[in-house]
C-alpha cells in the first residue's frame, strides 16, 4: 500500500513525454486523423534527418504538419499529398520511397542478401553431407568393423 503513491508518481512521469506532443489539430473526421498520423509518421523531416515530421519539433516539421492537416481537410488523397511533398523536398522526404532506378538497390537488397545467405547455407551443408558420403569402399568396410566390434562385449 505504501508503494501506491510511488507507483502513481512513476506512472505520472511516464505520461509527461506524451503530453509534450507538439500541437493538436481538430479533425472533422476521425478517418482523416488516422491518415494524418500515418502520413506524418511516413514523412521525413528535411531538417532533422532520421526523424519523421511527427516526432520532430523543428519549425519545418511544424510547417509540414500544418500543411498536411490543411491538405487532408481539403480532401487531398494520400498520393496527392505525397506527390506535393516530393515535388518540393525530393524523394528524400518519404520513409517509404517509390520504386525507381535510384531506390531499386534499397528495395532489392534485402531479397538479394537473403538469397545469398540461403545459397551459402545450402553450399556449406551440401559440402558437409558430401564429405560424409565420400568414404571409399575400403574405409566403409573398416568403419563397419569398428562399429561391429564396439557392440560386442569383448
Amino acid at each position: 500500500m505504501r508503494y501506491v503513491s510511488l507507483i502513481s508518481l512513476l506512472l505520472a512521469l511516464c505520461v509527461m513525454p506524451a503530453a509534450a506532443v507538439i500541437e493538436t489539430y481538430e479533425f472533422s473526421d476521425s478517418a482523416l486523423e488516422k491518415r494524418y498520423h500515418q502520413l506524418s509518421q511516413e514523412l521525413r523531416c528535411p531538417k532533422c534527418q532520421n526523424q519523421n515530421i511527427a516526432d520532430s519539433n523543428a519549425p519545418i516539421a511544424q510547417d509540414l504538419r500544418r500543411l498536411l492537416f490543411e491538405q487532408l481537410e481539403a480532401g487531398a488523397s494520400d498520393e496527392e499529398i505525397l506527390a506535393y511533398m516530393v515535388a518540393r523536398y525530393g524523394e528524400f522526404v518519404r520513409y517509404r520511397p517509390g520504386f525507381d532506378r535510384a531506390t531499386a538497390v534499397l528495395w532489392f537488397a534485402p531479397a538479394i542478401l537473403l538469397l545469398l545467405a540461403a545459397l551459402t547455407v545450402f553450399m556449406v551443408l551440401r559440402k558437409r553431407g558430401g564429405a560424409a558420403a565420400s568414404l571409399s569402399a575400403e574405409e566403409a568396410q573398416r568403419l563397419q568393423t569398428i562399429l561391429d566390434s564396439g557392440d560386442k562385449p569383448s
Binding site: P46, K47, Q49, P59, I60, A87, R88, Y89, G90, F92
Partner: protein
C-alpha cells in the same frame, strides 16, 4: 592454387567494405539534392520588404541571379552577410527572401549591416520557402535568365565555397565572370 586464393576472400571483402564505409564518412548527409533543380522558380506574389508594394516572379526573372533565403533569427546568415555584400559590390544580383521574419527587425538588420540585396521578398508565412523546398536558412538558389533553378547551396556562402564551387556555377548561369580580390586581400 584455387583453395589458397580462397583464403584471401575475407580480406578482399573487408577491404571492399572498408572502402565503402570510408566513402560514406566523406558524404555529407545534410546536402540534400534539391527537388527543384532544372525546374522553374515557383510563382509567388508577396510584399517587398521596403514596403513599396508587392513583388512577383515576373519582377525577378530575366537575368541570372541569386536568391538568398535569410532571416534575422538565423545566426549563419549574419556570418555570410559580409560576403554577400562583397558579391553584390562585384555586380552579382542577389535577391533576398526574408524567411519567417519580423519586418521591422529585418529592416533594422539591413540598416545596420548593409543591404546587398536588389530587393527583398517578404515570406512571413514561409509559403515561398515551402514551394522552394527550403528547410533552413541560409540557403541560396542560383537561377538562370529563363527563371530556371540551376543550383541550391545550403549553408553559409564564404570566399572558399564561392571560389571552389559557386563562382563556376554562377558563370555557367550566364552571369558575368566575377573578379574577386586575391585570397587574403581586402576587397
Amino acid at each position: 592454387m584455387a583453395p589458397r586464393l580462397k583464403l584471401f576472400l575475407p580480406l578482399v571483402l573487408f577491404v571492399l567494405l572498408a572502402l565503402f564505409l570510408a566513402r560514406g564518412l566523406k558524404l555529407d548527409p545534410k546536402e540534400l539534392p534539391s527537388a527543384l533543380i532544372d525546374q522553374p522558380f515557383p510563382e509567388f506574389d508577396l510584399p517587398e520588404l521596403s514596403g513599396v508594394g508587392s513583388i512577383t516572379r515576373a519582377d525577378v526573372v530575366g537575368a541570372p541571379a541569386l536568391f538568398n533565403v535569410w532571416a534575422t533569427w538565423c545566426i549563419s546568415c549574419r556570418v555570410e552577410h559580409p560576403y554577400l555584400q562583397t558579391l553584390a559590390d562585384k555586380g552579382v544580383p542577389i535577391y533576398g527572401i526574408n524567411y519567417k521574419d519580423d519586418d521591422a527587425a529585418a529592416m533594422q538588420w539591413l540598416e545596420n549591416l548593409g543591404d546587398p540585396y536588389v530587393a527583398n521578398i517578404v515570406d512571413r508565412a514561409g509559403s515561398l520557402g515551402l514551394d522552394l523546398g527550403v528547410y533552413g536558412a541560409p540557403e541560396t538558389y542560383f537561377v538562370d535568365a529563363q527563371g530556371t533553378v540551376r543550383y541550391r547551396h545550403v549553408g553559409v556562402i564564404d570566399e572558399r565555397v564561392w571560389r571552389t564551387r559557386l563562382a563556376a556555377i554562377y558563370t555557367e548561369l550566364g552571369g558575368a565572370a566575377v573578379t574577386l580580390p586575391a585570397a587574403g586581400g581586402q576587397p
